[in-house]
């Protein structure tokens, strides 16, 4: 069926994912464009249109809400289904996101992680998938394009085994648009790992059932608990799939958590996604200087692996969470969750909020922040590379500025030093 060349090759992250989806033999794909995920569905569209994926239906729909809704129908009718989205698109389909997990439909969806507006911003952070973190979907975060590719193949098996939808999150632009070498498996390898989809419930005229009935106070809690229970099961299934994947493909991908130079570490840094590469380089640099520091990568954000994470972090004297999201008025979401994993241990947890809206996260800044945390010199949470003079100016000017302009415009003027042109009358 597939006409792709297996083996090592240099491809864009989005195209690597598109090929991984193709190798997973999807039956219905829906598509609505939004940067930065669009190259994935473009790639798949070309494959379906050329007949390379036959039998497979590609639906160009009118919104993200329709994209996921169409897959809800297709999945309930027994098809293996896939779509991709980002940012506003994920929020626009939010109602259907909850519906898909509530109905127990094993849909796989890529999130090309991107900030949420306003202010409108197309660059990477984790605000989008975080906003839907409690929707009942499994959320896996890829560090590299290789891992993104591998996680998608695992995702179908995971979703179908549990009858629970899975989001594979990959950092927008940083991964989706990066050309990296990947090892593309063969169709035979993927077929040996991923069996055809056998739905746990299906719309069938010869055996008609009602799906999506109204459930009242007498049973709603039990139905929600069963979804919770799937996530508890998923903790085990994800680790098993990691081992099984390694047996089939010869490399370590996915799983719950992965540690780096952590054995004797006093400081452990926890993060999700592509920033883990920078963190490991920072760890190496600081190790060379004698710091006892290591890192832990969290791949499975939902289910949140409380036990595995506690095990990975419990030896540290200090835990630093570096995360690309902000719970306004609270701090870091991952840090909040991690504190739950560490409850009773009294391990200090510091939060670094970094990279919002695509702000670069250079190693230099990361190392500086780690050192400051080790010496107790930073505020909690710490906002990496924040332009504080611009913030102070904006706060001081609140209510004083007569000119009609937004706060975002004022900050932009302040940080750029460029006076906004006065309107011509």
């Amino acid at each position: 069926m597939s006409t792709f060349m297996p083996g090592r090759k240099q491809v864009e992250g989005s195209h690597a994912v598109a090929e991984a989806i193709a190798l997973s033999r999807p039956q219905v794909i829906s598509c609505y464009p939004i940067t930065p995920q669009t190259h994935i569905v473009e790639g798949l569209s070309a494959m379906v249109k050329s007949g390379a994926l036959s039998p497979c239906e590609f639906m160009n729909v009118e919104s993200e809400f329709a994209a996921l809704s169409a897959l809800i129908g297709a999945s309930a009718a027994g098809a293996r289904t896939y779509t991709a989205t980002s940012s506003q698109g994920l929020l626009f389909m939010a109602e259907a996101v909850y519906n898909a997990s509530g109905l127990g439909l094993p849909i796989v969806m890529t999130i090309g992680n991107r900030a949420i507006g306003a202010p409108i911003n197309i660059w990477n952070d984790h605000s989008d998938s975080m906003a839907l973190r409690d929707s009942g979907w499994i959320q896996l975060h890829a560090e590299s394009n290789q891992e993104a590719l591998d996680l998608h193949i695992q995702a179908f098996k995971l979703a179908e085994q549990l009858s629970c939808p899975v989001m594979v999150c990959m950092d927008g632009f940083i991964l989706t648009h990066a050309y990296e070498e990947v090892d593309m498996p063969s169709q035979e390898q993927v077929d040996a790992f991923l069996p055809p989809f056998v739905p746990q419930q299906v719309l069938d005229p010869s055996d008609p059932i009602t799906i999506g009935a109204m459930v009242g106070p007498d049973a709603y809690m039990e139905v929600r608990y069963l979804l919770h229970h799937k996530h508890l099961q998923a903790v085990e299934v994800i680790e098993n799939l990691r081992k099984e994947f390694k047996r089939h493909f010869g490399r370590d991908s996915g799983g719950l958590v992965s540690s780096y130079r952590a054995d004797d570490a006093e400081t452990l840094v926890l993060a999700m996604g592509s920033i883990n590469g920078t963190i490991r380089e920072a760890v190496d640099e600081m190790r060379d200087e004698g710091h006892r520091i290591g890192s832990v990568k969290l791949c499975s954000y939902r289910p949140f692996p409380l036990e595995a994470l506690r095990e990975a972090l419990k030896g540290a004297k200090r835990v630093i969470i570096l995360e690309k999201n902000l719970a306004t008025g609270l701090g870091g979401i991952l840090a909040s969750n991690t504190r739950m994993a560490l409850r009773g241990l009294n391990t200090p947890v510091n939060t670094i909020i970094a990279g919002l809206g695509g702000r670069p996260i250079p190693k230099k800044s990361v190392v500086r922040a780690f050192r400051q945390i080790e010496t107790g010199e930073v505020e909690e949470p710490h906002f990496l590379d924040m332009n504080w003079p611009a913030i102070h100016e904006a706060i001081n000017n609140r209510g004083l500025v007569k000119r009609r302009e937004s706060e975002a415009q004022r900050v932009l003027r302040s940080v750029s030093g460029v006076e906004v042109a006065k309107p011509v009358r």
């Binding site: 039956q27 219905v28 829906s30 039998p55 497979c56 239906e57 639906m59 160009n60 729909v61 009118e62 919104s63 809400f65 329709a66 809704s69 169409a70 897959l71 809800i72 129908g73 297709a74 999945s75 309930a76 009718a77 027994g78 098809a79 289904t81 109602e95 259907a96 519906n99 109905l103 719309l203 069938d204 005229p205 055996d207 008609p208 059932i209 009602t210 799906i211 999506g212 009935a213 109204m214 459930v215 009242g216 049973a219």
Partner: protein, 339 residues
């Protein structure tokens, strides 16, 4: 429609009992082996036009497909009264997802059936709120792509499930919970609302029809015709709601018939955006025959009737009669009903 010449002796009525017809001419509802797709025991109100319309339509689908059909339902009365867990009145494969996505979900079911090599008719269904308001984006997308779905709207002209609020299908002067009978212009304003079947026609889809629970044979015929066509199809069925309209449950059919016979709800068929047939009015009635039995229009008929408003509603009906050629004086529907 199929026809059969017969002799009968009733006078003063336009109804003909099935007993006078040959077996193959009888309506689906008259057969003992009808599917009862929406089975008895559900929680619809007495006299519910939507329950009646859904049973007529889905039974006709089941006969026309020999049982090879799947239904996707929008949130609303029809979904709520038919499926209080763990019970279900549906005697066919049935899926409910959300309020605003039934056309997209149905399109997805249809795609899955195609890719799995199964010949199954997929219907989407919902009330006017789920269809002409919150689901309209998904409906338009389904039309535009010409997805292989028959979508049926049961139009009772307001959000009945949430307690009778105004929808994009609420007629002028109708009182609802959000267009109260107060102020200078009581009820829904003139000039609002949308004509969903005409908008469906504007998509150029293979088949659009309007139908009424007052005309069972016409409804069944249109559903059967639609099942025989591939691509996007739309049937808009007028279904009185005794609760929301403030009407006697026993008068559901009579009120629905008055809507048709006054010209307020024209019955027609269109193919690929062109009107091909309009059902003639057999005995024209004034719009007051339709309005007066409904409490939502009671403010028009008090001690000082609102003659101006009634005249405007009559003008709407008269315009329909003219536009669709609903009276016998118009031999054929005007050919230039283009949009």
């Amino acid at each position: 429609m199929k026809s059969q010449r017969l002799k009968f002796y009733q006078t003063g009525t336009f109804t003909v009992g099935n007993r006078l017809l040959s077996d193959e001419m009888r309506s689906v509802q008259a057969t003992v082996d009808r599917n009862n797709s929406l089975n008895s025991g559900h929680r619809a109100c007495q006299g519910c036009g939507e329950a009646l319309g859904a049973r007529y339509a889905v039974d006709a689908v089941m006969r026309a497909t020999n049982g090879q059909a799947i239904a996707v339902n929008a949130t609303g009365c029809l979904e709520v009264f038919s499926t209080p867990f763990p019970e279900s009145s549906w005697r066919l494969a049935w899926l409910h997802s959300l309020f605003g996505n039934a056309p997209a979900v149905a399109a997805g079911v249809s795609a899955a059936m195609r890719v799995r090599g199964k010949k199954v008719t997929v219907i989407g269904q919902g009330g006017d709120g789920g269809t002409v308001d919150i689901g309209f984006g998904c409906l338009s997308g389904m039309f535009e792509r010409n997805d292989d779905v028959l979508y049926i709207c049961y139009d009772n002209e307001a959000y009945m499930n949430t307690g009778v609020q105004r929808s994009g299908s609420t007629p002028p002067t109708a009182i609802t919970a959000t267009t109260q009978g107060v102020g200078e212009h009581p009820g829904q304003e003139f000039g609002g609302g949308k004509n969903a079947p005409r908008i469906a026609m504007a998509h150029g889809i293979p088949y659009v029809a309007t139908a009424s629970v007052a005309d069972l044979r016409d409804l069944e015929e249109k559903v059967t015709t639609a099942v025989g066509i591939r691509g996007a199809r739309y049937i808009h069925i007028h279904v009185p709601c005794p609760l929301g309209w403030g009407s006697d449950p026993a008068l559901t059919i009579q009120i629905a018939r008055a809507a048709v016979q006054s010209g307020l709800f024209p019955l027609y068929e269109a193919r690929h955006g062109r009107l091909v047939k309009a059902t003639k009015i057999r005995r024209k009635v004034p719009v007051t025959d339709y309005l007066q039995p409904q409490k939502r229009f009671a403010h028009l008929f008090g001690k000082t009737p609102n003659v101006a408003a009634i005249d405007r509603i009559q003008a709407i009906a008269d315009a329909n009669i003219e536009d669709y050629g609903l009276l016998d004086s118009h031999e054929d529907p005007p050919i230039s009903l283009q949009i």
